[in-house]
């Protein structure tokens, strides 16, 4: 349903994306891994049309969104939910208003329905009862979970998670992984997860794609990647750094 073709993006003299080709099938769960600063978040922002590419295409259900205007993009984005790496909560709104943002702007939900769904969503991310708090009063991990609730509450067709478990303790991480899998399977939501966490990669990914030097270097099942003999892949999944990077 989403096809990325030869996507290129340059910031100043840094070629961040250098011809990315990627297909995301309906209903699948894809994990994107890659070095920090490798352009994963930038890739995600291109897929949801937040940043226009220098060249290349992003096809959503056959429609090239790379050059749509903002108003036309809004309709496309209604199908998407996105958890930002920084959570990006609206700091002038309460947790409840953040999570209910889309629902309360759609005007076809009653206030009771909205507050019930917000409570359910908070229950799902294991943070009941924080409705009235402001984002500034939450810890980093809590903000991320509120961001997650905000991204899934309106039942989008595709959810993008940018490092959903970074900064969470292992127990909550595990429950978030399970939540992502549950959302994907029960609601038939297409799931795209960026992560550095090999455990959560194996927990949520049916397919893993590795972004390296601005391209999709390889893709396969988590098991295949973990067992890969390719030096770039195996170094990454085992977390072994280059020797020379330690010499000052």
């Amino acid at each position: 349903m989403i096809k990325v073709r030869q996507l290129r993006k340059r910031f100043g003299d840094q070629q961040v994306l250098d011809g990315v080709d990627l297909t995301i099938e309906k209903g699948e769960s894809l994990v994107i891994i890659g070095r920090s600063g490798g352009g994963k978040s930038v890739l995600l922002k291109h897929i949801v049309g937040l940043t226009p590419p220098d060249s290349g295409q992003v096809l959503v259900d056959g429609q090239d969104i790379a050059h749509l205007n903002e108003r036309a993009l809004l309709a496309v984005r209604r199908k998407f939910g996105m958890l930002f790496q920084s959570a990006a909560l609206f700091d002038s709104l309460t947790v409840e208003e953040n999570i209910a943002f889309v629902l309360s702007r759609e005007r076809n939900h009653t206030p009771e329905e909205i507050s019930r769904r917000v409570a359910e969503a908070l229950e799902m991310v294991e943070m009941p009862g924080v409705q009235k708090k402001k984002p500034a009063e939450l810890s980093g991990g809590m903000r991320k979970r509120v961001g997650l609730a905000r991204a899934i509450i309106y039942r989008p067709e595709v959810v993008f998670y940018d490092e959903p478990t970074t900064g969470l303790d292992p127990v909550v991480s595990d429950s978030i992984d399970k939540l992502i899998v549950r959302v994907c399977e029960r609601l038939k939501v297409t799931t795209v997860v960026i992560t550095h966490d090999m455990r959560s990669m194996q927990a949520v990914g049916r397919r893993v794609a590795m972004l390296h030097h601005g391209r999709i270097y390889t893709s396969g099942t988590p098991v295949e990647l973990m067992a890969s003999a390719d030096p770039v892949v195996s170094r990454f999944v085992r977390g072994i750094s280059d020797e020379k990077e330690h010499t000052f």
Partner: protein
């Protein structure tokens, strides 16, 4: 996203281009999208109610100093009772709108730029866009509409307070004859002066909000970017107000002479 501008002219032109696109988008949004009443009221509260102090002080002291200065000059040629007429005409047509707008630009324009700028650097504007909401609809339009409603009202208030303060200073401190003063004031101030002030302040309101929002939305990165945006919002809005005021005076005097 945008090419690196190679020189100042290019930068200015591309800035003006993006600014015009934003204004066009605001107009499109106004005609096609529903404006949220709650957002509008929030903004009106912030702009109107919280600017009271600033506007009252500005209006009162401008009226007072204008009265005193005019009186010192007019007294020499025994035209004491024309003092308040001068105060009222210049407060209505020039000083009221311009000074109120400058004060509001410093307070409201700056905070709009800082607020939207912070939202931009913390990815909140991107988040808004992924939540299928146009930043212009949600952030800019309520601010522009509220400012264009609030600034004329604040201006009227500041003019009224200015004239009142001038009257008190003139009559009680400088011993000008109140009866003749009031008659002269009404004789020389006509509806054109009032209308001119009203139209100007409406336009100034638009300048303040669009500049503040534009600078915020196109703010550079980090705290430094927000700082820059805030300063520039105030500076550009103030300059635009002063320059456009001159041309508006020329234009409106001609136009209003027709009615």
């Amino acid at each position: 996203m945008t090419e690196v501008p190679t020189n100042v002219i290019q930068r200015v032109l591309s800035g003006l281009g993006r600014f015009s696109l934003m204004v066009a988008e605001v107009l499109r949004s106004l005609t096609t999208q529903r404006l949220s009443g709650r957002d509008l009221v929030d903004q009106l509260h912030f702009i109107g109610v919280k600017s009271q102090m600033v506007v009252l002080v500005t209006g009162a002291f401008t009226g007072m100093v204008l009265c005193a200065q005019t009186y010192f000059q007019f007294h020499k040629v025994k035209m004491d009772t024309a003092t308040l007429a001068v105060v009222s005409v210049s407060m209505c047509g020039e000083l009221g709108p311009v000074l109120t707008a400058l004060m509001v630009a410093g307070r409201v324009g700056a905070s709009m730029a800082a607020q939207l700028g912070t939202m931009r650097v913390t990815e909140q504007i991107d988040a808004l866009r992924t939540l299928a909401t146009h930043p212009i609809d949600y952030l800019v339009v309520p601010r522009v509409v509220a400012t264009m409603i609030a600034v004329p009202l604040l201006t009227a208030e500041s003019i009224a307070v200015g004239i009142l303060a001038a009257y008190l200073v003139g009559v009680h401190l400088l011993q000008i004859d109140p009866g003749y003063s009031l008659v002269n004031m009404q004789r020389f101030t006509d509806h054109r002066d009032v209308l001119m002030g009203f139209i100007k302040s409406f336009i100034f309101g638009g300048i303040i909000a669009t500049t503040g929002c534009y600078k915020g939305i196109h703010c550079g990165q980090g705290a430094e970017g927000v700082g820059h945006a805030t300063t520039e919002a105030v500076v550009y809005a103030s300059i635009a107000i002063l320059i456009s005021n001159f041309f508006l005076t020329l234009l409106l005097t001609r136009l209003l002479a027709l009615i």
